[in-house]
Amino acid sequence: MKQNYVLFVDDEIELHSLVKQKFKNELRSNMFELECFENGKHCFEFVDNNAEKINFLIIVTDLNMPVMNGFELLHKIKEKYPHIPVTISSAYGDRGTIEKAKSMGARDFYEKPIDFNVLRTGILELLEQAQASN
Protein backbone atom coordinates (compact mmCIF):
# COMPACT_ATOMS: atom_id res chain seq x y z
CA MET A 1 0.00 0.00 0.00
CA LYS A 2 1.31 3.38 -0.99
CA GLN A 3 1.93 6.01 1.64
CA ASN A 4 1.78 9.80 1.86
CA TYR A 5 4.91 11.42 3.16
CA VAL A 6 6.05 14.71 4.61
CA LEU A 7 9.85 14.96 4.59
CA PHE A 8 11.41 17.50 6.92
CA VAL A 9 15.03 18.52 6.29
CA ASP A 10 17.01 20.63 8.79
CA ASP A 11 20.40 20.25 10.41
CA GLU A 12 18.94 21.49 13.72
CA ILE A 13 18.10 18.02 15.09
CA GLU A 14 16.10 19.40 18.03
CA LEU A 15 13.54 20.60 15.49
CA HIS A 16 12.84 17.04 14.35
CA SER A 17 11.07 15.97 17.57
CA LEU A 18 9.22 19.29 17.75
CA VAL A 19 7.86 18.90 14.25
CA LYS A 20 6.82 15.31 15.00
CA GLN A 21 5.00 16.51 18.11
CA LYS A 22 3.37 19.33 16.14
CA PHE A 23 1.90 16.83 13.69
CA LYS A 24 1.08 14.27 16.37
CA ASN A 25 -2.62 14.11 15.50
CA GLU A 26 -2.00 13.66 11.77
CA LEU A 27 0.62 11.02 12.45
CA ARG A 28 -1.62 9.16 14.93
CA SER A 29 -4.38 9.13 12.34
CA ASN A 30 -1.94 7.91 9.67
CA MET A 31 -2.70 10.88 7.44
CA PHE A 32 0.97 10.72 6.40
CA GLU A 33 4.38 9.51 7.48
CA LEU A 34 6.89 12.12 8.69
CA GLU A 35 10.56 11.54 8.03
CA CYS A 36 13.27 13.95 9.19
CA PHE A 37 16.78 14.38 7.69
CA GLU A 38 19.86 16.38 8.59
CA ASN A 39 20.79 17.25 5.02
CA GLY A 40 19.53 17.28 1.47
CA LYS A 41 21.51 14.24 0.45
CA HIS A 42 19.78 11.88 2.90
CA CYS A 43 16.42 13.29 1.92
CA PHE A 44 17.04 12.82 -1.79
CA GLU A 45 18.27 9.28 -1.25
CA PHE A 46 15.09 8.51 0.67
CA VAL A 47 12.93 9.80 -2.19
CA ASP A 48 14.96 7.81 -4.72
CA ASN A 49 14.87 4.60 -2.67
CA ASN A 50 11.19 4.73 -1.79
CA ALA A 51 9.68 6.00 -5.04
CA GLU A 52 7.46 2.91 -5.32
CA LYS A 53 6.06 3.22 -1.81
CA ILE A 54 5.17 6.90 -2.17
CA ASN A 55 1.66 8.00 -2.94
CA PHE A 56 2.37 11.69 -2.60
CA LEU A 57 5.10 13.63 -0.96
CA ILE A 58 5.83 17.04 0.46
CA ILE A 59 9.31 18.30 1.32
CA VAL A 60 9.99 21.06 3.83
CA THR A 61 13.66 21.98 3.76
CA ASP A 62 16.14 24.35 5.35
CA LEU A 63 18.60 26.08 3.00
CA ASN A 64 21.87 26.35 4.87
CA MET A 65 23.03 22.82 5.62
CA PRO A 66 26.22 20.84 5.29
CA VAL A 67 26.79 18.12 2.68
CA MET A 68 23.85 19.15 0.45
CA ASN A 69 22.08 22.42 1.00
CA GLY A 70 18.44 23.23 0.38
CA PHE A 71 18.96 24.81 -3.04
CA GLU A 72 20.76 21.75 -4.31
CA LEU A 73 18.02 19.51 -2.99
CA LEU A 74 15.36 21.72 -4.57
CA HIS A 75 17.23 21.64 -7.88
CA LYS A 76 17.61 17.84 -7.86
CA ILE A 77 14.02 17.21 -6.86
CA LYS A 78 12.67 19.59 -9.51
CA GLU A 79 14.93 17.94 -12.08
CA LYS A 80 13.81 14.39 -11.34
CA TYR A 81 10.44 14.74 -9.60
CA PRO A 82 9.01 18.06 -10.78
CA HIS A 83 5.57 17.29 -9.33
CA ILE A 84 6.82 17.06 -5.71
CA PRO A 85 6.03 20.29 -3.84
CA VAL A 86 9.02 21.71 -1.95
CA THR A 87 8.62 24.32 0.78
CA ILE A 88 11.57 26.28 2.08
CA SER A 89 12.15 27.25 5.70
CA SER A 90 15.22 29.39 6.25
CA ALA A 91 16.78 32.06 8.41
CA TYR A 92 17.80 33.86 5.21
CA GLY A 93 14.58 35.66 4.44
CA ASP A 94 15.96 38.38 2.19
CA ARG A 95 14.15 39.11 -1.03
CA GLY A 96 16.95 37.74 -3.21
CA THR A 97 16.86 34.35 -1.52
CA ILE A 98 13.05 34.14 -1.62
CA GLU A 99 12.93 35.09 -5.29
CA LYS A 100 15.61 32.60 -6.11
CA ALA A 101 13.76 29.81 -4.29
CA LYS A 102 10.53 30.68 -6.07
CA SER A 103 12.24 30.79 -9.45
CA MET A 104 13.67 27.34 -8.79
CA GLY A 105 10.18 26.02 -8.20
CA ALA A 106 9.72 26.24 -4.42
CA ARG A 107 6.05 26.22 -3.40
CA ASP A 108 6.28 28.29 -0.21
CA PHE A 109 8.92 30.14 1.81
CA TYR A 110 8.87 30.41 5.59
CA GLU A 111 11.41 32.65 7.25
CA LYS A 112 12.78 31.45 10.59
CA PRO A 113 11.68 31.77 13.32
CA ILE A 114 8.61 30.17 11.73
CA ASP A 115 5.14 30.09 13.14
CA PHE A 116 4.56 26.34 13.53
CA ASN A 117 0.78 26.75 13.27
CA VAL A 118 1.18 28.53 9.94
CA LEU A 119 3.61 25.86 8.78
CA ARG A 120 1.16 23.14 9.83
CA THR A 121 -1.75 24.79 8.02
CA GLY A 122 0.38 25.29 4.92
CA ILE A 123 1.41 21.65 4.83
CA LEU A 124 -2.12 20.40 5.39
CA GLU A 125 -3.32 22.61 2.53
CA LEU A 126 -0.69 21.16 0.25
CA LEU A 127 -1.78 17.68 1.26
CA GLU A 128 -5.37 18.49 0.44
CA GLN A 129 -4.38 19.85 -2.95
CA ALA A 130 -2.30 16.78 -3.64
CA GLN A 131 -5.11 14.48 -2.65
CA ALA A 132 -7.61 16.40 -4.73
CA SER A 133 -5.45 16.19 -7.84
CA ASN A 134 -4.82 12.52 -7.25
Binding site: S17, L18, Q21, K22, Y92, I114, F116
Partner: protein, 497 residues
Protein backbone atom coordinates in the same frame (compact mmCIF):
# COMPACT_ATOMS: atom_id res chain seq x y z
CA UNK B 1 138.79 105.44 -26.64
CA UNK B 2 135.63 107.31 -25.81
CA UNK B 3 133.09 106.24 -23.21
CA UNK B 4 130.16 105.60 -25.59
CA UNK B 5 132.13 103.13 -27.62
CA UNK B 6 132.92 101.14 -24.48
CA UNK B 7 129.50 101.37 -22.80
CA UNK B 8 127.69 100.90 -26.12
CA UNK B 9 128.35 97.20 -25.93
CA UNK B 10 125.85 96.99 -23.01
CA UNK B 11 123.73 100.15 -23.16
CA UNK B 12 122.46 102.71 -25.54
CA UNK B 13 124.64 105.62 -24.71
CA UNK B 14 124.75 109.42 -25.45
CA UNK B 15 127.16 112.08 -24.33
CA UNK B 16 126.43 115.81 -24.32
CA UNK B 17 128.38 118.93 -23.58
CA UNK B 18 127.17 121.38 -21.03
CA UNK B 19 125.03 123.15 -23.70
CA UNK B 20 123.04 119.97 -24.21
CA UNK B 21 124.45 119.16 -27.64
CA UNK B 22 125.24 115.54 -28.35
CA UNK B 23 128.93 115.02 -28.68
CA UNK B 24 129.06 111.26 -28.84
CA UNK B 25 126.66 108.32 -29.28
CA UNK B 26 126.81 104.54 -29.26
CA UNK B 27 126.80 102.85 -32.63
CA UNK B 28 123.12 101.92 -32.87
CA UNK B 29 122.20 105.61 -32.43
CA UNK B 30 124.57 106.62 -35.17
CA UNK B 31 123.16 103.95 -37.54
CA UNK B 32 119.52 104.95 -36.95
CA UNK B 33 119.88 108.69 -36.66
CA UNK B 34 121.52 110.86 -39.34
CA UNK B 35 123.61 113.68 -38.02
CA UNK B 36 123.02 112.78 -34.42
CA UNK B 37 126.28 114.29 -33.36
CA UNK B 38 125.59 117.98 -32.75
CA UNK B 39 121.82 117.52 -32.26
CA UNK B 40 120.04 118.73 -29.17
CA UNK B 41 119.52 115.99 -26.55
CA UNK B 42 115.90 117.26 -26.12
CA UNK B 43 115.10 116.21 -29.70
CA UNK B 44 116.13 112.62 -29.04
CA UNK B 45 114.87 112.17 -25.48
CA UNK B 46 111.88 114.50 -25.04
CA UNK B 47 110.58 113.04 -21.81
CA UNK B 48 110.91 114.95 -18.61
CA UNK B 49 113.24 114.17 -15.84
CA UNK B 50 112.08 111.66 -13.20
CA UNK B 51 114.49 112.80 -10.68
CA UNK B 52 117.98 114.21 -10.72
CA UNK B 53 119.54 111.15 -12.23
CA UNK B 54 116.84 108.95 -13.73
CA UNK B 55 113.96 109.39 -16.15
CA UNK B 56 111.76 107.46 -18.48
CA UNK B 57 112.00 108.31 -22.13
CA UNK B 58 110.71 106.98 -25.37
CA UNK B 59 112.70 106.40 -28.50
CA UNK B 60 111.84 104.34 -31.54
CA UNK B 61 108.50 103.50 -29.84
CA UNK B 62 110.36 101.88 -27.04
CA UNK B 63 110.49 102.83 -23.41
CA UNK B 64 113.77 103.44 -21.77
CA UNK B 65 114.88 103.93 -18.27
CA UNK B 66 117.50 106.60 -18.59
CA UNK B 67 120.36 107.16 -16.22
CA UNK B 68 122.12 110.51 -16.44
CA UNK B 69 125.62 110.72 -15.16
CA UNK B 70 126.71 114.38 -14.72
CA UNK B 71 130.35 114.99 -15.28
CA UNK B 72 131.96 118.34 -14.72
CA UNK B 73 131.53 119.64 -18.29
CA UNK B 74 129.44 116.95 -19.91
CA UNK B 75 126.57 114.53 -19.27
CA UNK B 76 126.43 110.83 -20.04
CA UNK B 77 123.02 109.31 -20.83
CA UNK B 78 122.66 105.54 -20.39
CA UNK B 79 119.40 104.11 -21.73
CA UNK B 80 118.01 100.73 -20.72
CA UNK B 81 115.15 99.21 -22.74
CA UNK B 82 112.31 98.60 -20.26
CA UNK B 83 109.48 98.24 -22.80
CA UNK B 84 108.62 94.64 -21.85
CA UNK B 85 108.95 95.36 -18.14
CA UNK B 86 106.53 98.27 -18.53
CA UNK B 87 104.01 96.09 -20.39
CA UNK B 88 104.28 93.47 -17.63
CA UNK B 89 103.75 96.11 -14.98
CA UNK B 90 100.68 97.42 -16.74
CA UNK B 91 99.33 93.93 -17.02
CA UNK B 92 100.01 93.33 -13.35
CA UNK B 93 98.22 96.47 -12.36
CA UNK B 94 95.34 95.57 -14.67
CA UNK B 95 95.33 92.13 -13.02
CA UNK B 96 95.12 93.74 -9.62
CA UNK B 97 92.21 95.80 -10.85
CA UNK B 98 90.53 92.62 -12.07
CA UNK B 99 91.27 90.95 -8.72
CA UNK B 100 89.70 93.89 -6.89
CA UNK B 101 86.71 93.62 -9.20
CA UNK B 102 86.46 89.89 -8.55
CA UNK B 103 86.75 90.40 -4.80
CA UNK B 104 84.01 92.97 -4.94
CA UNK B 105 81.70 90.73 -6.96
CA UNK B 106 82.36 87.72 -4.73
CA UNK B 107 82.26 89.82 -1.56
CA UNK B 108 85.56 88.22 -0.84
CA UNK B 109 88.37 90.24 0.67
CA UNK B 110 91.89 89.21 1.41
CA UNK B 111 94.21 90.19 4.23
CA UNK B 112 97.81 89.85 5.16
CA UNK B 113 98.86 90.16 8.77
CA UNK B 114 102.44 90.54 9.76
CA UNK B 115 102.35 89.08 13.24
CA UNK B 116 105.83 90.35 14.13
CA UNK B 117 105.22 94.03 13.31
CA UNK B 118 101.47 93.93 13.84
CA UNK B 119 100.86 95.42 10.38
CA UNK B 120 97.61 94.28 8.87
CA UNK B 121 96.80 94.96 5.26
CA UNK B 122 93.32 94.64 3.92
CA UNK B 123 92.14 94.49 0.35
CA UNK B 124 89.59 97.14 -0.62
CA UNK B 125 86.79 94.63 -0.42
CA UNK B 126 87.38 93.98 3.29
CA UNK B 127 86.93 97.70 3.94
CA UNK B 128 83.69 97.56 2.01
CA UNK B 129 82.50 94.53 3.95
CA UNK B 130 83.29 96.36 7.18
CA UNK B 131 81.41 99.41 5.93
CA UNK B 132 84.52 101.58 5.52
CA UNK B 133 85.99 103.46 2.58
CA UNK B 134 88.87 101.55 1.02
CA UNK B 135 92.12 101.98 2.88
CA UNK B 136 90.42 104.36 5.27
CA UNK B 137 92.08 103.31 8.46
CA UNK B 138 95.32 101.76 9.49
CA UNK B 139 94.26 98.23 10.01
CA UNK B 140 95.59 96.24 12.92
CA UNK B 141 94.47 93.04 14.60
CA UNK B 142 93.16 95.03 17.60
CA UNK B 143 91.31 97.47 15.34
CA UNK B 144 89.86 94.52 13.47
CA UNK B 145 88.55 93.05 16.73
CA UNK B 146 86.59 96.22 17.52
CA UNK B 147 84.38 95.59 14.48
CA UNK B 148 83.43 92.07 15.55
CA UNK B 149 80.08 91.42 17.17
CA UNK B 150 80.71 91.18 20.95
CA UNK B 151 79.10 87.76 21.12
CA UNK B 152 81.46 86.45 18.45
CA UNK B 153 84.66 88.13 19.56
CA UNK B 154 85.85 85.33 21.83
CA UNK B 155 85.32 82.64 19.25
CA UNK B 156 87.36 84.66 16.71
CA UNK B 157 90.20 85.10 19.19
CA UNK B 158 90.00 81.39 20.03
CA UNK B 159 90.09 80.48 16.35
CA UNK B 160 93.18 82.60 15.73
CA UNK B 161 94.91 81.24 18.83
CA UNK B 162 94.12 77.67 18.01
CA UNK B 163 95.30 78.10 14.39
CA UNK B 164 98.59 79.46 15.73
CA UNK B 165 98.95 76.92 18.53
CA UNK B 166 97.97 73.86 16.50
CA UNK B 167 99.35 75.07 13.15
CA UNK B 168 95.96 74.39 11.75
CA UNK B 169 93.83 76.13 9.18
CA UNK B 170 92.06 79.19 10.53
CA UNK B 171 88.36 79.14 9.92
CA UNK B 172 85.63 81.01 11.75
CA UNK B 173 82.20 82.39 11.04
CA UNK B 174 81.31 85.62 12.82
CA UNK B 175 79.32 88.78 12.62
CA UNK B 176 80.65 92.25 11.90
CA UNK B 177 78.98 95.36 13.24
CA UNK B 178 79.36 98.28 10.90
CA UNK B 179 79.52 101.85 12.14
CA UNK B 180 75.91 102.38 11.02
CA UNK B 181 74.87 99.45 13.24
CA UNK B 182 74.07 97.05 10.42
CA UNK B 183 75.31 93.52 10.80
CA UNK B 184 77.12 91.39 8.23
CA UNK B 185 77.85 87.70 8.46
CA UNK B 186 81.32 86.71 7.31
CA UNK B 187 83.34 83.58 7.00
CA UNK B 188 87.10 83.83 7.51
CA UNK B 189 89.56 81.35 6.22
CA UNK B 190 93.30 81.67 6.65
CA UNK B 191 96.62 80.14 7.29
CA UNK B 192 99.52 80.85 9.64
CA UNK B 193 103.11 80.91 8.42
CA UNK B 194 106.00 80.08 10.72
CA UNK B 195 109.68 80.91 10.46
CA UNK B 196 112.46 78.40 10.87
CA UNK B 197 112.32 78.75 14.64
CA UNK B 198 108.64 77.80 14.52
CA UNK B 199 107.58 81.31 15.49
CA UNK B 200 104.39 82.46 13.78
CA UNK B 201 105.29 85.42 11.63
CA UNK B 202 102.54 85.89 9.15
CA UNK B 203 98.95 85.07 8.59
CA UNK B 204 97.17 85.25 5.22
CA UNK B 205 93.49 84.89 4.78
CA UNK B 206 90.25 85.79 3.14
CA UNK B 207 87.01 87.22 4.46
CA UNK B 208 83.89 86.11 2.70
CA UNK B 209 80.71 88.14 3.19
CA UNK B 210 78.03 85.45 3.49
CA UNK B 211 75.23 87.72 4.74
CA UNK B 212 73.21 87.34 1.57
CA UNK B 213 73.77 83.60 1.53
CA UNK B 214 72.66 83.29 5.14
CA UNK B 215 69.65 85.46 4.45
CA UNK B 216 68.91 83.30 1.44
CA UNK B 217 69.37 80.16 3.49
CA UNK B 218 67.10 81.50 6.19
CA UNK B 219 64.47 82.38 3.62
CA UNK B 220 64.88 78.92 2.17
CA UNK B 221 64.56 77.44 5.64
CA UNK B 222 61.40 79.49 6.18
CA UNK B 223 60.02 78.32 2.85
CA UNK B 224 60.90 74.74 3.73
CA UNK B 225 59.19 75.10 7.08
CA UNK B 226 56.07 76.46 5.47
CA UNK B 227 56.15 73.70 2.87
CA UNK B 228 56.76 71.06 5.50
CA UNK B 229 53.90 72.35 7.60
CA UNK B 230 51.67 72.38 4.51
CA UNK B 231 52.69 68.84 3.60
CA UNK B 232 52.15 67.65 7.17
CA UNK B 233 48.75 69.26 7.16
CA UNK B 234 47.81 67.61 3.87
CA UNK B 235 49.23 64.28 5.03
CA UNK B 236 47.30 64.40 8.26
CA UNK B 237 44.16 65.35 6.34
CA UNK B 238 44.70 62.37 4.07
CA UNK B 239 45.39 60.13 7.03
CA UNK B 240 42.24 61.37 8.70
CA UNK B 241 40.23 60.72 5.53
CA UNK B 242 41.78 57.31 5.22
CA UNK B 243 41.20 56.42 8.84
CA UNK B 244 37.60 57.52 8.40
CA UNK B 245 37.28 55.16 5.47
CA UNK B 246 38.94 52.40 7.45
CA UNK B 247 36.40 53.15 10.14
CA UNK B 248 33.75 52.63 7.45
CA UNK B 249 35.35 49.36 6.56
CA UNK B 250 35.28 48.38 10.20
CA UNK B 251 31.60 49.26 10.28
CA UNK B 252 31.15 47.21 7.14
CA UNK B 253 32.83 44.26 8.81
CA UNK B 254 30.63 44.97 11.81
CA UNK B 255 27.66 44.70 9.44
CA UNK B 256 28.96 41.29 8.40
CA UNK B 257 29.23 40.36 12.07
CA UNK B 258 25.71 41.58 12.82
CA UNK B 259 24.26 39.74 9.80
CA UNK B 260 26.06 36.60 10.92
CA UNK B 261 24.82 36.99 14.47
CA UNK B 262 21.25 37.58 13.31
CA UNK B 263 21.26 34.34 11.35
CA UNK B 264 22.88 32.51 14.23
CA UNK B 265 20.13 33.70 16.56
CA UNK B 266 17.30 32.85 14.20
CA UNK B 267 17.95 29.12 14.49
CA UNK B 268 17.65 28.72 18.30
CA UNK B 269 14.81 31.23 18.17
CA UNK B 270 13.10 28.98 15.65
CA UNK B 271 13.45 26.01 18.01
CA UNK B 272 12.02 28.04 20.90
CA UNK B 273 9.10 29.16 18.83
CA UNK B 274 8.41 25.57 17.84
CA UNK B 275 8.71 24.48 21.43
CA UNK B 276 6.32 27.14 22.72
CA UNK B 277 3.88 26.12 20.00
CA UNK B 278 4.04 22.55 21.37
CA UNK B 279 3.27 23.86 24.88
CA UNK B 280 0.35 25.83 23.46
CA UNK B 281 -0.97 22.70 21.76
CA UNK B 282 -0.66 20.78 25.03
CA UNK B 283 -2.63 23.39 26.97
CA UNK B 284 -5.23 23.37 24.21
CA UNK B 285 -5.44 19.57 24.25
CA UNK B 286 -5.46 19.28 28.03
CA UNK B 287 -7.06 22.43 29.48
CA UNK B 288 -6.35 23.04 33.17
CA UNK B 289 -10.00 22.74 34.25
CA UNK B 290 -10.08 19.32 32.60
CA UNK B 291 -6.88 18.15 34.35
CA UNK B 292 -7.61 19.53 37.82
CA UNK B 293 -10.40 17.11 38.80
CA UNK B 294 -8.71 14.06 37.36
CA UNK B 295 -8.05 10.98 39.56
CA UNK B 296 -6.62 8.77 36.90
CA UNK B 297 -4.45 9.88 33.95
CA UNK B 298 -6.20 7.28 31.79
CA UNK B 299 -9.18 9.61 31.68
CA UNK B 300 -7.14 12.08 29.65
CA UNK B 301 -6.85 9.77 26.70
CA UNK B 302 -4.22 7.29 25.47
CA UNK B 303 -1.60 9.89 24.50
CA UNK B 304 -1.54 12.06 27.61
CA UNK B 305 1.66 10.60 29.08
CA UNK B 306 3.45 10.74 25.73
CA UNK B 307 2.29 14.29 25.06
CA UNK B 308 3.27 15.39 28.54
CA UNK B 309 6.71 13.85 28.16
CA UNK B 310 7.23 15.44 24.71
CA UNK B 311 6.03 18.82 25.92
CA UNK B 312 8.22 18.77 29.01
CA UNK B 313 11.22 17.69 26.98
CA UNK B 314 10.63 20.53 24.50
CA UNK B 315 10.52 22.96 27.45
CA UNK B 316 13.77 21.55 28.77
CA UNK B 317 15.17 21.78 25.23
CA UNK B 318 14.52 25.52 25.32
CA UNK B 319 17.31 25.87 27.84
CA UNK B 320 19.76 24.77 25.23
CA UNK B 321 18.44 27.33 22.75
CA UNK B 322 18.46 30.05 25.39
CA UNK B 323 22.08 29.28 26.16
CA UNK B 324 22.97 29.33 22.48
CA UNK B 325 21.37 32.73 21.99
CA UNK B 326 22.93 34.05 25.15
CA UNK B 327 26.36 33.00 23.93
CA UNK B 328 25.81 34.61 20.55
CA UNK B 329 24.56 37.86 22.08
CA UNK B 330 27.41 37.98 24.55
CA UNK B 331 30.02 37.51 21.86
CA UNK B 332 28.36 40.15 19.71
CA UNK B 333 28.17 42.57 22.60
CA UNK B 334 31.80 41.81 23.24
CA UNK B 335 32.57 42.87 19.70
CA UNK B 336 30.52 46.03 19.76
CA UNK B 337 31.06 47.24 23.30
CA UNK B 338 34.69 46.39 23.58
CA UNK B 339 35.96 48.86 21.04
CA UNK B 340 39.09 49.67 22.99
CA UNK B 341 42.24 48.99 21.10
CA UNK B 342 43.81 47.24 24.07
CA UNK B 343 45.91 44.17 23.73
CA UNK B 344 44.61 41.23 25.73
CA UNK B 345 46.86 38.65 27.27
CA UNK B 346 46.79 34.94 26.65
CA UNK B 347 44.14 34.96 23.96
CA UNK B 348 43.17 31.52 22.68
CA UNK B 349 43.75 31.93 18.96
CA UNK B 350 41.94 28.71 18.01
CA UNK B 351 38.73 29.88 19.69
CA UNK B 352 39.05 33.29 18.09
CA UNK B 353 39.60 31.80 14.63
CA UNK B 354 36.63 29.43 15.06
CA UNK B 355 34.35 32.24 16.20
CA UNK B 356 35.36 34.60 13.39
CA UNK B 357 35.11 31.89 10.71
CA UNK B 358 31.64 30.86 11.87
CA UNK B 359 30.45 34.46 11.88
CA UNK B 360 31.71 34.98 8.34
CA UNK B 361 30.15 31.71 7.19
CA UNK B 362 26.81 32.56 8.82
CA UNK B 363 26.71 35.87 7.01
CA UNK B 364 27.65 34.35 3.68
CA UNK B 365 25.26 34.70 0.79
CA UNK B 366 27.03 32.05 -1.26
CA UNK B 367 24.64 29.58 -2.87
CA UNK B 368 26.89 26.67 -2.15
CA UNK B 369 28.51 26.78 1.25
CA UNK B 370 32.05 25.45 1.19
CA UNK B 371 33.29 22.29 2.80
CA UNK B 372 35.18 23.75 5.77
CA UNK B 373 38.20 21.94 7.09
CA UNK B 374 39.51 23.24 10.42
CA UNK B 375 42.94 21.98 11.28
CA UNK B 376 43.72 23.74 14.53
CA UNK B 377 46.84 22.76 16.44
CA UNK B 378 45.82 21.35 19.78
CA UNK B 379 48.34 23.00 22.06
CA UNK B 380 48.63 26.27 20.20
CA UNK B 381 50.30 28.81 22.51
CA UNK B 382 48.26 31.88 23.47
CA UNK B 383 48.99 35.27 21.96
CA UNK B 384 48.85 38.88 23.02
CA UNK B 385 46.33 40.40 20.61
CA UNK B 386 43.55 42.95 20.19
CA UNK B 387 40.76 40.37 19.98
CA UNK B 388 38.24 42.43 18.02
CA UNK B 389 40.81 43.57 15.51
CA UNK B 390 42.05 40.07 14.88
CA UNK B 391 38.46 38.81 14.53
CA UNK B 392 37.94 41.50 11.90
CA UNK B 393 40.99 40.28 10.03
CA UNK B 394 39.83 36.65 10.02
CA UNK B 395 36.29 37.63 9.03
CA UNK B 396 37.70 39.73 6.22
CA UNK B 397 39.94 36.97 4.91
CA UNK B 398 37.18 34.33 5.16
CA UNK B 399 34.80 36.77 3.46
CA UNK B 400 37.30 37.22 0.62
CA UNK B 401 37.77 33.46 0.38
CA UNK B 402 34.01 32.96 0.20
CA UNK B 403 33.84 35.58 -2.55
CA UNK B 404 36.56 33.78 -4.49
CA UNK B 405 34.77 30.41 -4.31
CA UNK B 406 31.20 31.58 -4.81
CA UNK B 407 31.00 30.21 -8.34
CA UNK B 408 32.96 27.08 -7.57
CA UNK B 409 30.91 23.87 -7.78
CA UNK B 410 33.01 22.16 -5.13
CA UNK B 411 34.06 25.01 -2.82
CA UNK B 412 36.49 24.31 -0.04
CA UNK B 413 37.85 26.38 2.78
CA UNK B 414 40.72 25.22 4.93
CA UNK B 415 41.60 27.02 8.15
CA UNK B 416 44.84 26.01 9.81
CA UNK B 417 46.60 27.13 12.96
CA UNK B 418 50.06 25.96 13.93
CA UNK B 419 53.25 26.91 15.76
CA UNK B 420 56.35 27.89 13.86
CA UNK B 421 59.79 27.48 15.42
CA UNK B 422 58.25 27.59 18.88
CA UNK B 423 57.86 31.36 18.91
CA UNK B 424 55.44 32.20 16.13
CA UNK B 425 51.80 31.39 15.55
CA UNK B 426 50.61 30.81 12.01
CA UNK B 427 47.02 31.22 10.87
CA UNK B 428 46.30 30.08 7.34
CA UNK B 429 43.12 30.62 5.36
CA UNK B 430 43.09 28.64 2.15
CA UNK B 431 40.44 28.56 -0.56
CA UNK B 432 40.16 26.73 -3.85
CA UNK B 433 38.87 29.81 -5.65
CA UNK B 434 39.93 31.77 -8.69
CA UNK B 435 43.29 32.94 -7.42
CA UNK B 436 44.72 36.44 -7.69
CA UNK B 437 46.12 37.69 -11.01
CA UNK B 438 49.87 38.46 -10.89
CA UNK B 439 49.28 42.13 -11.73
CA UNK B 440 46.77 42.50 -8.90
CA UNK B 441 48.92 40.60 -6.43
CA UNK B 442 51.39 43.44 -5.86
CA UNK B 443 48.57 45.81 -5.09
CA UNK B 444 46.17 43.86 -2.90
CA UNK B 445 47.31 45.52 0.34
CA UNK B 446 47.13 49.02 -1.15
CA UNK B 447 44.26 51.12 0.14
CA UNK B 448 41.35 51.41 -2.30
CA UNK B 449 42.59 48.62 -4.50
CA UNK B 450 39.76 46.23 -5.26
CA UNK B 451 38.80 43.80 -8.00
CA UNK B 452 35.26 43.52 -6.71
CA UNK B 453 32.38 45.56 -8.16
CA UNK B 454 32.03 49.02 -6.65
CA UNK B 455 29.08 48.15 -4.42
CA UNK B 456 30.77 45.01 -3.09
CA UNK B 457 34.27 46.06 -2.12
CA UNK B 458 35.78 49.29 -0.80
CA UNK B 459 39.34 48.17 -1.41
CA UNK B 460 40.16 48.75 2.24
CA UNK B 461 39.61 45.29 3.69
CA UNK B 462 43.04 43.85 3.05
CA UNK B 463 44.67 47.20 3.79
CA UNK B 464 42.95 47.14 7.18
CA UNK B 465 44.13 43.54 7.69
CA UNK B 466 47.66 44.59 6.86
CA UNK B 467 47.50 47.53 9.29
CA UNK B 468 46.08 45.40 12.09
CA UNK B 469 48.57 42.55 11.66
CA UNK B 470 51.47 45.03 11.45
CA UNK B 471 50.27 46.64 14.69
CA UNK B 472 50.53 43.16 16.22
CA UNK B 473 54.17 42.91 15.10
CA UNK B 474 53.00 40.23 12.77
CA UNK B 475 53.13 39.60 9.06
CA UNK B 476 50.57 38.81 6.43
CA UNK B 477 51.50 37.04 3.22
CA UNK B 478 49.61 35.67 0.30
CA UNK B 479 50.30 32.65 -1.83
CA UNK B 480 48.13 32.30 -4.89
CA UNK B 481 47.81 30.30 -8.05
CA UNK B 482 45.34 31.15 -10.82
CA UNK B 483 42.54 28.61 -10.99
CA UNK B 484 43.85 26.65 -8.00
CA UNK B 485 43.32 28.92 -5.04
CA UNK B 486 44.72 31.38 -2.58
CA UNK B 487 46.24 31.07 0.87
CA UNK B 488 46.52 34.00 3.24
CA UNK B 489 49.08 33.38 5.94
CA UNK B 490 49.23 35.41 9.13
CA UNK B 491 52.25 35.17 11.37
CA UNK B 492 51.91 36.43 14.94
CA UNK B 493 54.43 36.40 17.76
CA UNK B 494 53.43 34.04 20.56
CA UNK B 495 53.06 35.45 24.02
CA UNK B 496 56.00 34.73 26.26
CA UNK B 497 54.91 32.81 29.31
Amino acid sequence: MNLCAILGQHFLCLQTNKEGKITDASESFIENFDNIIGSEIKEILPEGLLDQSKFISTYNNKIYSTLVIQQFDSSLYLLEDITQKKIDEDLLSKGQETLKEAQSIAHLGSWDWNIVTGDLSWSDEIYRIFGLSPQQFGASYEAFLTYIHPEDKQSVIDAVNSAVAQKSIYGVEHRVIRKDGSIRNVYEHGRVYFNQENVPVRMLGVVHDITDRIKYEETLKDINLVLEREINKKTSELEKAQSKLIQHEKLASLATIVAGVAHEIKNPLNIMKGSSSIVEDFIYDYPLNKISGIKNFEELGPYFKEDLAQTLSSIVGQNNSIKRMDDIIKSMLGLVKNTTMDFEHKVNINELVKKATNLALSASSNEILPKVIMKLEENLPPANVITNELIRVIINLVDNALYAIKDNQNPQLKITTKTLLDDKIIIEIRDNGLGIAPNDLKRIFEPFFTTKPANVGTGLGLHMCYDIITAHNGEIHVDTSMGIGTTFKITLPRENS
